[in-house]
């Protein structure tokens, strides 16, 4: 039996899986490994309210389900009565007709009940699904960037897709099925008990055995299901990442290696699933056997009593039919048990997302000053991405409205980080950042976004048209305004050369444009937003010198009256700034105009010298 093996390959991949898991857990503190409790009160309290708007429908669904259970479970009983009427000598035909009429009624009723139940459940389920997804999405929009630094997009996505689906199934059909099973079971128990106490007790006596077996089985199954979940998570995030990075992979000719590695990870998933499948299948023969034992007990005891004349055949037939019905819901409940755990775990993960507090939260009573003048102050700002490792230390910086300041410094000095504090992408660890004297923590998100625009170092474009991308910050902009913005940053010529001009469709991340072109569009987007404060983070680093020069000329006009923070490695672009700040290791070490800094003979002068020595000037020698 070769397929019982695979242990070796499994061992391999479990290791890889475990490592990757451990890392991801360490990074974001999210634990995806738990299989939930059977009932998690916190989850239910949080998520049950999603059913509230549909109270009537939920009640109808419940009613339909109870009705369906009762009518369908009553069927064998009625059949028994019918048979008794028939075997009686002489046969009781009128009674037979009556019972048959009831049977027909019940069949129709059970159809109607089920129809109501399924329609309502479908309605509820889809509405709950939609509402949950929407709320999660809305909440995700509020979470701060530090959250996205730590959390893998693929994992966030799986919470909003598969976990939500699992939870929705639990809230609607899952809960109902359990109720239906319990109702059915109760009907059967009552009927059996009232029909014949002795036979009923005989039937029930296998139940404790079943319970013990199921409990024992649960212990093992639980671990198996945890592994299944882990394994598939790793499979999915591997695919996600390796598709996003496929260009690098092909460039480095890593495909074969990756295919092998993925094979191992995938194998781990297969093994975990097959193990779980074996466990699921193993419970079948046990239940089967117990049903048979119950049936034979009833047949021996019942048969003897029929022989002895103390039991009618009808009752015996009803019992034989009911035993099947008795074990069906039990079997179903066993299956539901793991479903429940899984869904509860999914629910816990949803609640975890919904309850994540944004590090950068909208103030309770946000200020919305009508007019921003553009003064920016940093007072004793210290910032850490990771606790204990300050990236900015005690920054004091005061920018007057309309002033242009430049930030220069070695790579990794903290320039981007400093700039990211102005639009409040992150909150300071110490000290405060103020705009027009108001702490950014008191400004509303929209006010802040209107006041500050950032042209980021790596431009991100959305799929959609060029126009939509440029107008992203101001949806109501006219075509002329969009064109003006594109012209200001020198993007217009190439856009107009595109096949559909401003209506050309960009692929995901704007991949069908060159990097320089993407950067220009991101630039135009910030310009169109018409902010009082403009942050240019290497905004023209990937743009050619001619375009850059053109942009710079245009910027002169554009920046007039605006406060601007320019980050650049090409010193030629920062020379015109009113003030240049040199950042070194998270501190401002030099400050002044170009000429002053050169005269100072410090870091700036050295940077400038490198540029000069290796630059265009040295040909003259």
């Amino acid at each position: 039996m070769a397929f019982w093996g695979g242990g070796f390959a499994g061992g391999w991949s479990h290791q890889a899986t475990a490592n990757a898991q451990a890392f991801r857990r360490g990074l974001d503190g999210w634990n995806d490994d738990e299989l939930g409790k059977l009932y998690d009160h916190r989850v239910m309290v949080r998520l049950l309210p999603y059913l509230r708007p549909y109270k009537v429908r939920a009640a109808l669904a419940f009613l339909g389900m109870v009705g369906y259970s009762v009518t369908s479970y009553a069927q064998p009983l009625l059949i028994g009565v019918a048979i008794d009427a028939a075997v009686r000598r002489p046969p009781d035909l009128s009674r037979l007709a009556g019972v048959s009429a009831v049977l027909v009624t019940f069949a129709v009723a059970s159809w109607a009940f089920q129809l109501v139940q399924q329609t309502m459940t479908g309605y509820l389920g889809q509405h709950v699904l939609y509402a949950l997804r929407r709320d999660m999405f809305e909440h995700l929009q509020r979470l701060s960037l530090s959250f996205y630094d730590r959390h893998e997009i693929g994992r966030v996505m799986s919470r909003i897709t598969s976990d939500v689906t699992a939870m929705q199934e639990l809230l609607t059909s899952g809960l109902l099925t359990v109720f239906a099973d319990i109702t059915g079971l109760s009907v059967v128990v009552v009927v059996l008990l009232t029909r014949d106490l002795q036979l009923a007790l005989l039937t029930f006596c296998v139940v404790p055995v079943l319970l013990v077996v199921v409990l024992f089985w649960q212990q093992r199954a639980r671990a198996a299901f945890v592994r299944v979940r882990q394994a598939i998570a790793v499979v999915n995030s591997t695919i996600n990442e390796d598709v996003s990075g496929v260009r690098v992979i092909q460039g480095l000719a890593r495909e074969d290696q990756n295919v092998r590695r993925f094979g191992r990870i995938n194998r781990g998933n297969l093994d975990a699933n097959v193990d779980a499948g074996r466990l699921s299948a193993a419970i079948l023969p046990v239940v089967e056997l117990l049903v048979a034992v119950a049936t034979s007990l009833v047949i021996i005891a019942g048969g003897l009593r029929v022989l002895g004349g103390t039991l009618t055949v009808g009752v015996l037939v009803a019992f034989a039919l009911y035993i099947q019905r008795f074990f069906d819901p039990i079997r179903d409940l066993v299956l539901q048990y793991t479903q429940f755990q899984r869904a509860m775990a999914g629910g816990a993960r949803i609640v975890e997302v919904l309850d994540t507090r944004p590090d950068v939260a909208e103030p309770a009573r946000p200020l919305t000053p009508a007019d921003i003048r553009g003064r920016v102050d940093f007072d004793g700002v210290t910032f850490e991405y990771v606790a204990g490792a300050p990236v900015l230390r005690q920054i004091d910086l005061h920018v007057r409205p309309g002033e242009t300041i430049a930030l220069v410094g070695h790579t990794g000095a903290g320039k981007t980080t400093l700039a990211a504090l102005i639009p409040r992408f992150y909150d300071t660890t110490q000290g405060s950042v103020r705009i027009d004297g108001v702490d950014v923590r008191q400004l509303s998100r929209t006010t802040l976004a209107r006041a500050v625009s950032v042209v980021p170092q790596d431009p991100f474009l959305f799929s959609g048209t060029v126009r939509e991308n440029i107008a992203y910050g101001r949806a109501q902009a006219t075509a002329a305004e969009v064109r003006a913005a594109a012209e200001a940053v020198g993007a217009a010529p190439f856009i107009e050369r595109l096949e559909d001009g401003y209506d050309s469709v960009l692929q995901e991340r704007g991949r069908n444009l060159s990097l320089g072109q993407r950067q220009l569009i991101a630039f135009a987007r910030a310009v169109l937003a018409d902010p009082r404060i403009l942050v240019l983070d290497e905004a023209t680093a990937s743009v050619d010198s001619q375009t850059e020069a053109a942009v710079q000329r245009a910027l002169g006009l554009l920046l007039a009256g605006r406060t601007s923070v320019v980050i650049a490695h090409r010193l030629s672009t920062v020379r015109e700034a009113d003030r240049i700040l040199v950042l070194e290791d998270g501190r401002i070490v030099e400050e002044g105009r170009h000429a002053d800094l050169l005269a100072l003979g410090g870091v700036y002068a050295r940077l400038h010298r490198t540029a000069y020595e290796t630059g265009a000037g040295s040909h003259a020698s």
Binding site: Q75, I79, V87, P91, L96, Q114, Q118, G125, Q126, Y130, R134, F137, Q141, Y148, D149, I153, M157, N236, I239, N240, E241, D242, V243, V246, R247, Q250, G251, A253, G277, P285, E288, A292, T295, S296, I300, G303, L307, V313, L316, V317, A320, A389, H410, T411, G412, A449, P456, Q457, D458, F460, S463, Y472, E508, S514, L515, G516, S542, D544, G617, S621
Partner: protein, 588 residues
Amino acid sequence: MLRLLRFLAPYRVRLLAAVGSLLGSGAFVLLTPQLIRWAINIGVDTRQHDRRLLVVVALLIVASALLRGFFAFWQQYLGEWIAQRVAYDLRNEIYERLQRLSFAYHDRAQVGEIMSRVTQDVESIRMYVSMGLLRLAYVLVLVFVALVLMALSNLRLALVAWGFLPVIGTVGIVAASRLRPVWLRIQQEQGRLGTVLQENLSGMRVVKAFARHDLELRKFEREARALFDDSYRSTRVMALLSPAMTGLGALAIVATVWLGAHDIAAGRLTAGDLSAFLIYLAILQMPVRTLGFMVNISARAHSSGRRIYEILDAECAVREKPGAIELREVRGHVRFENVSFGYDLLSPVLKGIEVDAPPGSVVALLGPSGSGKSTVVNLLPRFYDPTGGRITVDGVDLRDVTLRSLRETVGIVHQDVFLFMDTIRENIRYGKPDASNEEVEAAARTARIHDFIAGLPDGYDTWVGERGVTLSGGQKQRVSIARTLLRDPRILILDDSTSSVDMETEHLIQQALAELMRGRTTFVIALRLRTVRRADQILVLDRGRIVQRGTHGELLPHPGLYRQIYELELGDQSERRGAALPETAAGG
């Protein structure tokens, strides 16, 4: 759909075993009613006072359950095994396909969409194989045998049951045909929702910067709403379908009871026969009830199969020729002969590109944004194939060599950096997983990133976030330079790979590279003259054509793009320098 059978083919033996177990368990499922019938008939038949016979029947029932359980286990387990295996094979094939599909495919594909196919569509195929295909076979066998057995025991009653069958079948088929287009739409909508989500989450910085949560929410709501509508539609079809099936089943039972009871009354039938009959019907109810479900999942699997095959069948624009040769002992003589290229057929991006790069030379490409510099160098590792002309390395056409050996020869540092969510060490040795720590450090030193890494608390074992978010722009770029250098390629391409690095560091990197580039053919793309001046050959591109070529010294005297750029950058420098540093100017 039929093509999915290919995925089942390797598991023929197990499939047969599964079908065998299925038949076995079916047989024992069908046997039980016969035993019960026998028992009840014994009970009723007062002439036959043999109590031992009852015990025998009871034991037989237990024995048959044991066997049935045995078969049920194997049926279920093997079914699951095969289904998981098919999903496994599908994932492997899709993954491999995705890894090999050329850039042209990935330019158009969306990650969210691909993910929805790899997850949801593969899952629905898995469900179909385990619960649809095998269960369907089981149900069909069960129904058929049960019907035959019923006919054998009482033809009249059997005819009643048979009468219901076509009705139920028709309902199922009608529902399936209604569901199939709905499922296709649902899956497309799931893909789109995934794409919107993926894009929103990856572009969160921009969303926040412009506070466009409202717009994003609208986009999301639109897709979620569409998905809602179609999902709801499918649940409505299902809500009509399954009760109808159960209801018809229940009616069949009533009809049987009615007729059967009359037969008993007339003495033509025993109670045992009737209960066996009813148990058969009860047994049939299960498949009938799940028939709705099976209709649903096979409709779903049908459209999932199509979506998966869209990936598996995608044309790979760059293919290896059969019998392609290994590129070995490369000297590094690269030639572009009248190469033209366009990303789509309509608009050519490169026209008549001629390049001759002798072994060990440094070729610089310069030109405005979008002039086609990256495009030129992307042809060299065959990320795309030229639409006209040819490219040779040491005289061999690129299309005649294996992709692997070509890409081992050509190392490229891409313009936009992509790092993996892994440690810095693993990122640097991504292209050469067996590299030693010393090699990794040497490459990091050349790329001037070693000191930074060494200064981190975890050093080379520091994890970087998705796409490298936890590093600064320049740090990412340098890690990616180190990653390519580690592979020690004969032909090196640097696509504007120091744009985010400060000048001093850039200068240091260049010095280190100069050492390294000796003996290698190197292509350097740069947007500033400063970086390209020392090249053996400078190609100036404009709108897809090489408009000027030569060394710095040759190009400078002629009016043209190069000179314009030069004057722009130089003018910029000397003018300021004149003002700020008179002494230096005087010295020059």
